[in-house]
């Protein structure tokens, strides 16, 4: 079986699942009379504690089979396709199904003619191979988890329909062979994200969060579209392979000194990425996106969709390699986002919010790696992050499930023995993200830090920011762990009685992801460790893709290996220090945090309120630009447009009045005056005309006499 030519089947299966669910799903899963669901993951009826994992009806069971099933099939097809790809000499396979936009001629910026062509085509290369494996693999586990998590929710079919639709669009995004088709998937996942954030649509906050995500993403997308159009008008093509060929043709040189058209193009593309991947300044939607069901947070807002921006920038590597200035901007934004989000995560109390800011922070790491030209490292971190962040989110979902919907960590604590599997898997995830050697996060994060330090585009400052963030990451994750699982229980008594471990459909995916979080990193160990080639497989798989660039950025650093060893040791030390500090503050001396809080009151308030960014944006853009602009436009409409209309009306009325006056007095006056004049002239004649016979006879007589007299007297 030739999987490579069947890659179009990979997105097709989730699409079929989505179509089935969204078209006829309602029949399979009849809704109860009241459509008002309870809090996420909470059983609505307290009286049946053993109902977990047992769907209510056989038809609902069918949904639970079909939807994860389609993803599983896609996953198996992906594995087959990637396996066959790895044996190809070129490791690139392009399938063009049909032409989507066929041959519209237009003028390039330099005056040449070109044709706008977009295919419905798929490109499988090492980069998209990693992405489809992550999307389908992690996606499948999260689907399985959702079967248990969403069992008691209304709109079961709707949830799975959206989730399958999301996987379809995400696969289109990563498999597309041109920017236009990528953009289809890009917008599609945005749509699914909106639909799933607002899944509990009867909650106003959820609806608002969905709209916020949608609108903020559109802001970024405008940049992406502009970048795409600029690319079309400069390069004349949108197909990835042709773009790379055009950029490497020698026609363009690296814009090291000036900020030229390529830099602008790359910057616009990056603006699109900041929207989708939640970077400064467009990160604000991601924390609010936690209003959605937790599996959605795990799949869309941690593991896959938000990494689309990272994928897109990596996909545009030929462009970014020619534009070091934009790359530097990417690195600075990435590092800034990483430390900024981490600082907010330090003080949040909502378990999902901590993870949300952690996601923003980790995405910042990925952009830092992209910005310093270490594209494969960014994808490597994306890969490991998908495992441990999905795991952490699913664990938090499991905790919330156990707590009956409670998300505030101040009312948790001491859950370690009550939900054992959740605890252990989350422990693995937290160790992984904190950067303890041997687990996934350590390898990728350390590689990013090393690249930030040693790459030609990197600097000590970028390394320092990343390093500080690493310490903060270890601290806030272990603050979360300690507040949730260790120490004294602060659980509300009415909740405490119901705490229970989640069903197997939820714990099995957790276990698989935990194993993944341990092992995934071993594919990309550092060169220093001198392990067999297999343990550096990730670099060998991806790095050749990015090294064909003209301005080869990533070269072997001249730094001595001892520097790398010491930096690695340093980051392990701060990770351990962060963990220890968290343990000390939140378990051993639980009173200290409050005292610290009191001591640095303003700083704490600033962090707790997320640097007031939401309020600032509200003031500047929502109230200032939108509402203020709306008011200004309203005033403009009222005063200027209406004024113009009213003025025109007044002018018309005035001219009509004037016209009437002119008609009455001048035109009619002339007519009437002429009549009057004639009448006056005729008056002497009129008075002679008496109408009496004898008067006329008299005139005759007088006339005769006059003639007579004239002739006589002559």
């Amino acid at each position: 079986m030739n999987f490579l030519d069947l890659i179009w089947l990979i997105p097709l299966f989730p699409l079929c699942g989505a179509a089935l669910m969204l078209l006829i799903g309602k029949k399979l899963d009849p809704q109860p009379a009241s459509d008002v669901a309870v809090a996420p993951g909470v059983e609505p009826v307290a009286g049946e504690p053993h109902a977990h994992g047992h769907p209510h009806s056989p038809l609902k069971f069918l949904i639970s089979l079909i939807c994860p099933g389609t993803i599983l099939v896609s996953f198996l097809l992906s594995v087959g396709a990637v396996w066959q790809l790895s044996s190809l000499p070129q490791k690139v396979h392009q399938v063009i199904q049909f032409s989507w936009v066929a041959g519209l001629p237009f003028h390039l910026a330099n005056g040449q003619m070109a044709t706008l062509q977009a295919d419905w085509g798929f490109l499988l290369d090492p980069l998209s191979a990693v992405m489809i494996l992550v999307v389908t693999g992690i996606g499948f586990l999260i689907h399985v988890y959702s079967v248990g998590y969403m069992a008691h929710d209304n709109g079961y079919y709707r949830f799975f329909g959206y989730l399958n639709l999301f996987v379809f669009f995400m696969l289109m995004l990563v498999l597309a062979n041109n920017y236009a088709l990528l953009f289809v998937g890009w917008e599609g996942v945005g749509l699914c994200s909106y639909l799933l954030i607002g899944f509990y649509y009867h909650k106003k906050s959820a609806g608002d969060a969905g709209k916020k995500a949608f609108i903020v993403n559109r802001v970024g997308d405008s940049g992406f579209v502009l970048g795409m159009l600029l690319m079309l008008s400069v390069l004349g093509t949108l197909r990835f392979t042709d773009v790379a060929t055009a950029l490497h043709s020698g026609q363009f040189t690296a814009e090291t000194v000036h900020f030229g058209v390529l830099s602008a193009m790359a910057l616009l593309m990056f603006i699109g990425a900041t929207g989708k991947s939640a970077q400064i300044p467009l990160y604000v939607w991601l924390p609010d996106a936690m209003e959605g069901p937790t599996p959605v947070s795990a799949l869309i807002h941690a593991a896959t969709m938000v990494t689309a921006g990272v994928y897109m920038v990596a996909r545009s590597a030929p462009l970014f390699q020619l534009t070091p200035q934009t790359s530097t901007i990417v690195a600075i934004i990435g590092a800034g986002t990483a430390i900024f989000a981490a600082s907010i995560a330090l003080v949040q109390n909502d378990i999902k919010r901590v993870l949300a800011y952690s996601t923003v922070s980790q995405l910042g790491y990925m952009f830092l790696a992209l910005g310093v030209g270490a594209y494969w490292v960014a994808i490597f971190h994306l890969f490991t992050h998908a495992f441990f962040k999905a795991l952490l989110f699913l664990c938090s979902g499991s905790v919330i499930h156990a707590m009956g919907g409670e998300q505030d960590m101040r009312y948790m604590g001491g859950l370690k023995d009550k939900i054992k599997i959740t605890h252990w898997t989350m422990w693995v995830g937290s160790v992984a993200i904190a950067g303890i050697p041997g687990l996934a996060g350590f390898f990728s994060k350390d590689e990013i830090l090393w690249q930030a330090f040693s790459s030609p585009l990197g600097s000590t400052a970028l390394w320092a920011v990343g390093f500080t963030t690493a310490a903060m990451t270890a601290f806030y994750m272990w603050r979360l762990m300690n507040m949730t699982f260790y120490g004294k229980s602060r659980v509300k008594p009415e909740v405490a009685a119901h705490i229970h471990e989640s069903p197997r459909t939820m714990t099995v995916p957790l276990t698989v992801l935990a194993i993944g979080s341990v092992l995934a990193g071993w594919l990309g160990t550092s060169k220093l460790w001198n392990l067999p080639e297999f343990f550096r497989g990730f670099e060998g798989w991806l790095a050749p893709m990015f090294s064909s660039g003209a301005g080869e950025a990533v070269k072997e650093s001249a730094q001595s290996s001892s520097t790398e060893w010491s930096l690695m040791g340093l980051s392990v030390l701060v990770a351990i220090a962060g963990i220890a500090l968290a343990r000390y503050l939140y378990v051993i001396k639980p009173g200290i945090p409050n005292r610290i809080q009191a001591a640095v009151g303003p700083l704490y308030t600033l962090l707790y309120h997320k640097w007031y960014i939401d309020e600032i944006y509200d003031f500047l853009f929502v109230n200032g630009l939108c509402k203020g602009g709306g008011r200004a436009l309203g005033a403009f409409d009222r005063e200027v447009v209406d004024g113009g209309v009213n003025g025109a009306g007044w002018l018309t009325r005035f001219s009509a009045k004037f016209s009437m006056w002119w008609d009455t007095w001048i035109v009619d006056g002339a007519v009437r005056f002429s009549a009057f004049f004639v009448k006056m002239l005729s008056y002497p004649v009129c008075i002679m005309e008496t109408g009496r016979l004898q008067t006329y006879a008299l005139f005759v007589v007088v006339g005769v006499l006059a003639f007579f007299g004239y002739y006589v007297t002559r």
């Binding site: 005729s682 109408g691 004898q694």
Partner: protein, 104 residues
């Protein structure tokens, strides 16, 4: 006794013309006006006949002309009286100053 000369006829004729003219101009009744017109016509007749006599027996054109005038007067009187009767039926008056439609 003085013979009756042409001058006498002319004086008579002028007197009749004057009487007739005054009658036409001053009397209100249309019948009287018509009668005055007859007087004027007859004044002309007398003139015609008198000059015809004065020019001698070879000249009878004047007398012939007078007969035409008499004929004409008769026809005129007949038509005028017809009009007058039609007028009277419509207006119930025969006074000339009450019939004044012929004006602006």
């Amino acid at each position: 006794m003085h013979p009756i000369t042409t001058v006498h006829y002319m004086v008579l004729s002028a007197a009749l013309l004057l009487i007739g003219t005054i009658g036409v101009l001053t009397r209100r009744n249309i019948v009287i006006i018509l009668m005055s017109i007859e007087l004027i016509l007859n004044a002309v007749n007398i003139n015609l006949v008198a000059f015809s006599h004065a020019f001698g027996p070879d000249h009878v054109q004047g007398q012939v002309f007078a007969i035409f005038v008499i004929t004409d007067a008769v026809a005129e009187a007949a038509i005028a009286l017809g009009i007058l009767i039609a007028l009277f039926r419509n207006k119930e008056t025969v006074l000339a100053d009450e019939i004044d439609l012929l004006k602006w």
